[in-house]
C-alpha cells in the first residue's frame, strides 16, 4: 500500500480543508496510508543566511521525502494561497527541496461557490517553480465549494457525486504516483539540477 501525506494548507484552528483531508484519509484507508500533516507550527519564512531548515520544517520535509506522494489541500485567501502555506513552500524551496519530482495532488475547499479554483491555479504555478519542481497531477481539480455546509456530523462528505468525483481522482493519483516514481532516470538528473539551482547566482 502507498504511503501518502496530506498537508493542511492553513494555520487556522478550524479548517474545512483539514476536514477534507481527514475525510480522504478515512475514506481511502483501504487504498493508502495517509498521514495528515500540519503547517501551523512552522515559523514564518524570513530568508535566513545559513539556509538551515528549522526543526519543524525539517520534520515536515522528512515526511515528504519518505512519502510516495503528497496531497495538498489549500484554502483560498484573497484569490490566492494563504500566507502560511506560501511560507511553508518558501522554506522547502529555500532549504531541503523535498518536493522535487514528488507526485502531488491538489485539493481545496472554500466557503463560496468556486471552491478555491483561483488559489489552486496559483498553487500549481508555485509548485512548478525551479526550486519546488513537484510533479503535479495534470487535468485534475478537486474543488469543494460551500465547504462549511459540505460535511456530515461524522466528517463524511454529504454530496455523493462529490465523493465519486474524488474517488476517480484519487485512483488516478495512485497510478500517477507509480508512473512518476518509475521515471527514476530522469529524476536523478533533474534533482541534481534543481539542487544546484539558485536564484541568487545565475
Amino acid at each position: 500500500m502507498k504511503n501518502l501525506i496530506g498537508i493542511v494548507g492553513t494555520n487556522s484552528d478550524n479548517s474545512t480543508n483539514r476536514q477534507l483531508l481527514q475525510f480522504i484519509q478515512k475514506h481511502f484507508s483501504g487504498k493508502a496510508n495517509i498521514e495528515v500533516c500540519e503547517i501551523k507550527d512552522l515559523p514564518g519564512f524570513n530568508k535566513p543566511k545559513d539556509r538551515e531548515a528549522p526543526v519543524e520544517v525539517q520534520k515536515l520535509s522528512d515526511k515528504i521525502e519518505e512519502a510516495d506522494g503528497v496531497i495538498i489541500s489549500t484554502p483560498e485567501y484573497n484569490h490566492s494561497v494563504p500566507a502560511a502555506l506560501k511560507s511553508t513552500l518558501e522554506w522547502l524551496s529555500y532549504t531541503t527541496q523535498p518536493l522535487i519530482d514528488k507526485a502531488v495532488m491538489i485539493t481545496g475547499a472554500s466557503y463560496g461557490r468556486l471552491g478555491s479554483s483561483r488559489s489552486q491555479a496559483h498553487l500549481r504555478q508555485m509548485l512548478d517553480a525551479p526550486e519546488l519542481k513537484a510533479r503535479i497531477m495534470p487535468s485534475s481539480e478537486f474543488l469543494l465549494g460551500f465547504s462549511l455546509q459540505a460535511f456530515e456530523e461524522n466528517g463524511d462528505l454529504k454530496d455523493k457525486s462529490k465523493i465519486e468525483e474524488l474517488e476517480g481522482i484519487f485512483d488516478d493519483f495512485i497510478q500517477f504516483v507509480d508512473i512518476t516514481n518509475q521515471l527514476v532516470n530522469a529524476k536523478s538528473t533533474h534533482k541534481k539540477q534543481a539542487q544546484q539551482f539558485s536564484w541568487e547566482d545565475h
Binding site: 524570513n46 485567501y77 484573497n78 490566492s80 494563504p82 506560501k86 504555478q125
Partner: protein, 396 residues
C-alpha cells in the same frame, strides 16, 4: 501627494526596498513617498486576530491617510512572498484600508523575468473583494537581474529604465486623480483630472532638474539659467527696459499679478506685500510650485475648470468676485489667458484687485449712483459699470 511605499520583502537586505528608496529619492519633486517595512508583521492567522497590534494599525493608518500606495514585490516561487501575502490578509480580514485605494505595482527579482509572475498574482490578489484596491492597469515595471541594477550610490544604473519608471510614476499621479473622480459622489462633476495640476509634464521653457517645491526655487532657477537681473537691458515689444525697471513697473501695477505657465507651474508674482496684506495671499517661497500646491484640494476642480476655459480658447478671461473681504472692498479675480502671436496658450495672467476705489471715483466724477442695497447693490453696480463701459466704447 502622499504615497506609501510597501516593501514586499521581509529580508534583511532587499532589492525591492532599494527600489522604493530610489523612487522616494529620485521623484521627490513629484511625490512624497514614505517607505514602510513589513518585517515585523506577524504571520496571518485567522484563529489569532492581531488586527489591533501596533504594526498592523500603523500600516492601516498610513495607508488610509495616503493618496496612493506603491507595492514593490519580489518573486518567490512564481508568486508573491508569504510575508506580503500575510500583510494583505491582515488588511482584508477585519479592516480594509486598501478599499478603493489607487495602487501601483513594481517589482524587482533575480530572474530576467523580473517578478512578472508575482506581479500578475499580486494584481489578482488586490482585486479580491476583501482587498478591493484599484490597481493601475498596464505600466508594468519589472526590474530583472536586480543584483546588477544598482550602482554604488544605490541609484538605478540604466538611464532608460529610470526614464520608464518616471513615466510610470507620472501616470500613477494622473491615475490617482482619475480614481478620485470615479469615487466622487454621483452627479458631482469633478474636473480636476482634466488638468495636470501637479505640473508633471514639461514645456520648452520649463527649468528642469530643480525641485519645484524648494523654497529657493527662484534662486536655483536663476543660477541654472544665468538669468538677467539688475541693470541688464531687456528688449521688449516695444521698447527697452532694464530688469530693475521692469520690476518696478510691474510692482506699480494697481493689482496683484501672477503668472502660471501652460504646464501649470507658478512662475511669478509682483511681490510687494507680505501674504497677510494681500487680497490673494502669495508667499515668496511658493514661486516655482505646481498649481496643485497653491490651492486646497477641494478647489482643484474649479481651478482645472478655469484653466480649461482658457486653454481651449472658450474664454479669454474668466472673472470671479470674492465677497469675503467685506462690504468695503469689491475684490475681483481675473484670469486672463496669455497667448503667443499665433494664439497658442502660454499660461495665465491672474490679476486681483479691489475695484471699489475706481467705481467710487467714477460715480463721483459722473454723478451716478449705485441702486439697491446689500449684496445686490454689488451686482447692480456691476451691471451699471457694464453699461457705463459700453458708453465708454461708444465715446471712443
Amino acid at each position: 501627494m502622499k504615497i506609501v511605499g510597501i516593501v514586499g520583502s521581509n529580508a534583511d537586505f532587499s532589492y525591492n526596498r532599494l527600489l522604493l528608496n530610489f523612487i522616494a529619492k529620485k521623484f521627490d519633486k513629484l511625490i512624497d513617498v514614505e517607505v514602510l517595512d513589513i518585517a515585523d508583521v506577524p504571520m496571518f492567522n485567522q484563529s489569532n486576530d492581531q488586527t489591533n497590534s501596533d504594526v498592523i494599525q500603523n500600516l492601516n493608518k498610513k495607508i488610509l491617510a495616503a493618496d496612493g500606495v506603491i507595492i514593490a514585490t519580489p518573486e518567490y516561487n512564481h508568486s508573491i512572498p508569504s510575508a506580503l501575502q500575510s500583510v494583505l490578509e491582515w488588511l482584508s480580514f477585519k479592516i480594509h484600508p486598501l478599499d478603493g485605494k489607487p495602487v501601483m505595482i513594481v517589482g524587482a527579482s533575480y530572474d530576467v523575468q523580473g517578478s512578472s509572475r508575482s506581479q500578475l498574482h499580486l494584481r489578482q490578489i488586490l482585486d479580491a473583494p476583501g482587498v478591493n484596491a484599484v490597481v493601475m492597469p498596464g505600466n508594468e515595471f519589472l526590474l530583472g537581474e536586480v543584483h546588477k541594477a544598482f550602482d554604488q550610490e544605490r541609484n538605478l544604473k540604466d538611464k532608460e529604465t529610470t526614464q520608464f519608471l518616471e513615466t510610470c510614476i507620472k501616470k500613477f499621479i494622473r491615475f490617482i486623480n482619475v480614481v478620485n473622480v470615479m469615487h466622487s459622489p454621483e452627479g458631482m462633476k469633478d474636473l480636476s483630472s482634466t488638468e495636470d495640476l501637479y505640473a508633471t509634464g514639461s514645456i520648452d521653457t520649463t527649468i528642469k532638474d530643480i525641485n519645484m517645491l524648494d523654497d529657493d526655487w527662484v534662486e536655483q532657477a536663476a543660477e541654472k539659467t544665468n538669468a538677467a537681473d539688475g541693470n541688464t537691458y531687456v528688449k521688449l515689444n516695444r521698447g527697452i527696459l532694464t530688469v530693475d525697471q521692469i520690476n518696478y513697473f510691474l510692482d506699480s501695477m494697481p493689482a496683484e499679478l501672477t503668472f502660471a505657465d501652460s504646464n501649470n507651474q507658478f512662475l511669478y508674482y509682483n511681490y510687494k506685500y507680505e501674504a497677510e496684506d494681500m487680497l490673494a495671499a502669495r508667499r515668496p517661497e511658493q514661486v516655482g510650485n505646481p498649481l496643485a500646491e497653491c490651492h486646497p484640494e477641494r478647489a482643484y476642480s474649479s481651478v482645472a475648470w478655469v484653466i480649461q476655459q482658457l486653454r481651449t480658447g472658450k474664454e479669454d478671461v474668466v472673472r470671479t468676485h470674492v465677497p469675503t473681504h467685506g462690504p468695503d472692498k469689491f475684490v475681483v479675480h481675473s484670469y486672463q489667458a496669455v497667448r503667443d502671436d499665433d494664439g497658442n496658450y502660454l499660461g495665465i495672467n491672474e490679476y486681483v484687485r479691489d475695484i471699489k476705489p475706481i467705481i467710487d471715483w467714477y460715480l463721483e466724477q459722473t454723478g451716478q449712483q449705485l441702486t439697491g442695497g446689500g449684496v445686490d447693490a454689488v451686482s447692480g453696480a456691476t451691471s451699471k459699470v457694464d453699461s457705463v463701459s459700453g458708453a465708454t466704447v461708444k465715446d471712443n
